[in-house]
């Protein structure tokens, strides 16, 4: 193509490439992050028309104020026992993350991803759903499994790909699956679970069921085409689904500007689809609970889907393979204006006179010890690379319901290779 002629009378175009405000070594100043006062957002009826949500898509629904009190129309008015269960589930998720991150660093497994700072997004949401509502999570909602009482040892067996792993060592660590607990098989491919959740919800509606679906993706994944198709389907069929966008500001090294955050909010995406959209303080467990409860009621009464943007912060690296100090200021996590969800719920319970620092410290110790003991149990089933894996044959099982001839042949080839190499089978 020949070079375009220079037109000296027109300004030169320029390409805008977003850049995060702070890079490694920079002083962090989040004073321009708009944090509306707790209790200031309105709470429409759950049957309200999606057009009434424009303002809610640009503010932040917050319940817990800086003084630890719950205020405003979104206060879910949970009893102290429920609050303590919520706090425990979040603290347990954090303790589990700490232990498994260390297990990866010790070479016991290949990979791990923490959810530090985002525990409320999974735990409080799971508590607001019915146990049999179907969750289509991304890889950072381990708090759902923990909240629903999935055994920690099963999670660890999966992380270690050991002989106790019910996924037979087929999946990368943390790609859990549990049908029983309504936790859909996690895929490495981003946002694919979004239309799947909508489809599950449509099926539930078409069958006259009362169960609803909920799905989660990060703000980075909203750029995938699947996000768009899921929102379109959800709106068209008024599917009983909750579409959660966990805006933790970072998609590996890319700040949220690369998913469009410079121009708008993620909750505001809902407006264009005709979906109810809420933007909430994702580090406020009561706001997460209230919004999820509201969206669940909306879905269960055939009023259709809700998109919830959880405004939060990914406090740690993307994964054990990531070093966030290479692309963002180390001060960001501590300077984050919405604080730490565990600490905020703890302070709320203390403000209510239903908790104290001693009990909290004791609980942390108890949870750490429980996780440590469970880890010891899990390691009896083996850790990655220590031979206590699944039978060789399982590699070929489950590709199809019945194994076709070519896989049988390849399986025999593999067994012959193992015999020739003198490699022993898994220790039983």
């Amino acid at each position: 193509m020949p070079a375009a002629p220079q037109r000296s009378n027109l300004p030169k175009l320029s390409l805008h490439v977003p850049e995060p405000k702070f890079r490694p070594g920079d002083e962090v100043d989040f004073s321009d992050v708009d944090v509306p006062a707790a209790g200031s957002a309105s709470r429409p009826d759950s049957a309200a028309d999606p057009a009434e949500f424009h303002q809610l898509a640009y503010t932040l629904v917050r319940v817990l104020g800086d003084d630890g009190q719950a205020v405003g129309p979104w206060d879910p008015r949970l009893d102290p026992d429920t609050l303590r269960i919520m706090l425990r589930n979040m603290a347990l998720t954090r303790a589990f993350d700490e232990r498994m991150f260390r297990a990866q660093r010790q070479g016991k497994t290949s990979f791990y991803m923490k959810s530090t700072g985002e525990e409320a997004v999974a735990v409080a949401a799971a508590m607001a759903l019915a146990q049999d509502d179907m969750c289509f999570p991304s890889y950072r909602q381990q708090g759902i499994l923990i909240t629903r009482g999935y055994p920690l040892i099963e999670m660890m067996n999966q992380i270690y790909s050991n002989k106790g792993d019910k996924l037979q060592g087929k999946q990368l660590p943390i790609m859990y699956s549990d049908r029983e607990k309504g936790f859909f098989s996690i895929s490495g491919n981003l946002a694919t679970q979004y239309p799947q959740a909508v489809g599950w919800a449509m099926a539930s509606a078409a069958k006259g069921d009362s169960r609803i679906a909920a799905t989660w993706c990060g703000e980075g994944s909203t750029a995938e085409g699947d996000f768009h198709s899921a929102c379109t389907f959800a709106a068209v069929y008024r599917a009983p689904v909750i579409l959660n966008v966990v805006n933790n500001q970072w998609a590996i090294s890319s700040f949220s500007g690369f998913a469009g955050a410079e121009a708008t909010t993620f909750a505001a995406r809902a407006i264009g689809y005709g979906i109810a959209g809420l933007r909430i303080d994702g580090n406020d467990p009561l706001a997460v609970y209230a919004a999820t409860q509201w969206a669940a009621e909306r879905a269960r009464t055939n009023q259709g889907p809700t998109l919830i943007e959880h405004f939060t912060y990914r406090a740690e690296g993307h994964s054990t393979s990531d070093d966030p100090s290479a692309y963002r200021s180390a001060q960001e996590a501590t300077a984050w204006p919405l604080g730490d969800p565990v600490k905020r719920l703890k302070e709320h319970l203390i403000a209510l006179g239903e908790w104290d620092e001693e009990r909290h410290a004791a609980q942390d110790l108890e949870l750490a010890e429980m996780v440590r003991k469970t880890q010891k149990e899990a390691e009896k089933n083996g850790i990655l690379g220590h031979g206590m894996h699944q039978k060789f044959e399982t590699m070929f099982e489950g590709v199809y319901e019945e194994m076709p001839w070519h896989l049988k042949e390849q399986m025999q080839q593999m067994l012959d290779e193992e015999a020739a190499a003198g490699r022993p089978g898994p220790k039983r």
Partner: protein, 334 residues
């Protein structure tokens, strides 16, 4: 019945038998499909079981996977195989892997129907044969019928199958068999035995080829429209070929193929799809590995050329009677 009616009948039969079967896709509901394959189904079974979708192939397949996870048995339609690519991630990364990655907890019992193949002046985006992309994906099954009878029996088997199936319908033969003579009057299925289709339930097992003509001179492996083009060309040339309609490409009926090639000593592979890394390459490898000492001539591949599917030069592109005839001469000369 013609093939459209047979396909329609298969869905009708399965929707009647199994309330978990749902049909979805662009224009499939009220209108009954751009090829009429779903005509009348929405009237009969209601909008909650037969419905139109937004124009988003990744959405159609993604939503169908979620429905499958719920416990339904979705039969999504992709209007043309040329438009299946936006759904590739959902098919390859999700549907094909779901059983494996969840160790059987979740399955994707979908049947993705899609018209495919050329010979209709469809140009670049209404003629493609992308089966080789799908046969390469572990966890998917790929099925292609060549007659209305097979289309119905195979489609019923696909819908009942608990694995995800790509069901490619050769649209050139929707209304009648095609012998490759594009300038002759069109035929209908009325005079072809494959056009006799029972109205009720029957199934043709997946993974089983059909020997459509027994012979001694060579074995010809083909599927879809090419079964008819090959049969007619062989008859006119007076060659005693054994013609095998594969029907299921994955999993492949290797026994029928090997038995035939061992008998005839020669093997020709015919498909419309482009040549390089087309499914024919896999067939040639399988035959070479298993029948090497029985082969009396190199394996011949008669295929589309390695170009996008052209519009005006369709009949120079299409692997018709001339290309097949020359390959027959070559493979039989020794």
């Amino acid at each position: 019945m013609n093939m459209i009616q047979a396909i329609n009948s298969a869905m009708d039969v399965m929707m009647e038998r199994d309330s978990s079967v749902v049909v979805m896709g662009e224009d499939v509901g009220y209108f009954g499909g751009v090829f009429r394959a779903t005509a009348g189904l929405q009237d009969k079974y209601g909008k909650e079981r037969v419905f139109d979708t937004p124009i988003t192939e990744c959405g159609i397949v993604g939503v169908a996977i979620g429905m499958g996870a719920y416990g339904l048995r979705p039969v999504p339609e992709i209007q043309f195989a040329d438009y299946i690519y936006p759904a590739l991630d959902q098919l390859v990364s999700e549907a094909a892997r779901l059983r494996y990655r969840s160790a059987g907890e979740f399955i994707a019992p979908l049947t993705v129907r899609s018209p495919f193949g050329g010979g209709i002046f469809g140009g670049q985006t209404h003629s493609q044969s992308p089966e080789g992309i799908f046969t390469h994906v572990s966890g998917l099954k790929t099925v292609i019928p060549a007659t209305p009878y097979d289309a119905k029996g195979l489609l019923i088997a696909c819908i009942e199958d608990n694995d995800p199936v790509i069901f490619f319908e050769p649209k050139r033969i929707y209304n009648g068999p095609f012998d490759g003579k594009y300038d002759s009057p069109a035929k209908n299925w009325g005079s072809h035995p494959g056009g006799e289709v029972p109205t009720g339930y029957y199934r043709i097992p997946l993974g089983k080829a059909a020997v459509v003509r027994e012979g001694e001179a060579l074995t010809i492996l083909c599927y879809g429209t090419m079964v008819h083009v090959v049969a007619n060309t062989v008859a006119e040339a007076g060659v005693d070929a054994e013609i095998i309609d594969l029907r299921t490409l994955m999993p492949l009926d290797v026994d029928t193929i090997v038995e035939s090639v061992k008998k005839t000593g020669r093997c020709m592979i015919v498909h419309e799809a482009t040549r390089t890394q087309g499914f024919g390459a896999e067939l040639a490898a399988v035959v070479q590995e298993r029948c090497f000492y029985h082969l009396e001539a190199p394996i011949e591949r008669v295929t589309g050329f390695d170009t996008p599917y052209p519009h005006s030069l369709e009949w120079a592109y299409f692997p018709g009677p001339v290309r097949i005839g020359q390959a027959l001469k070559k493979i039989l000369k020794d």
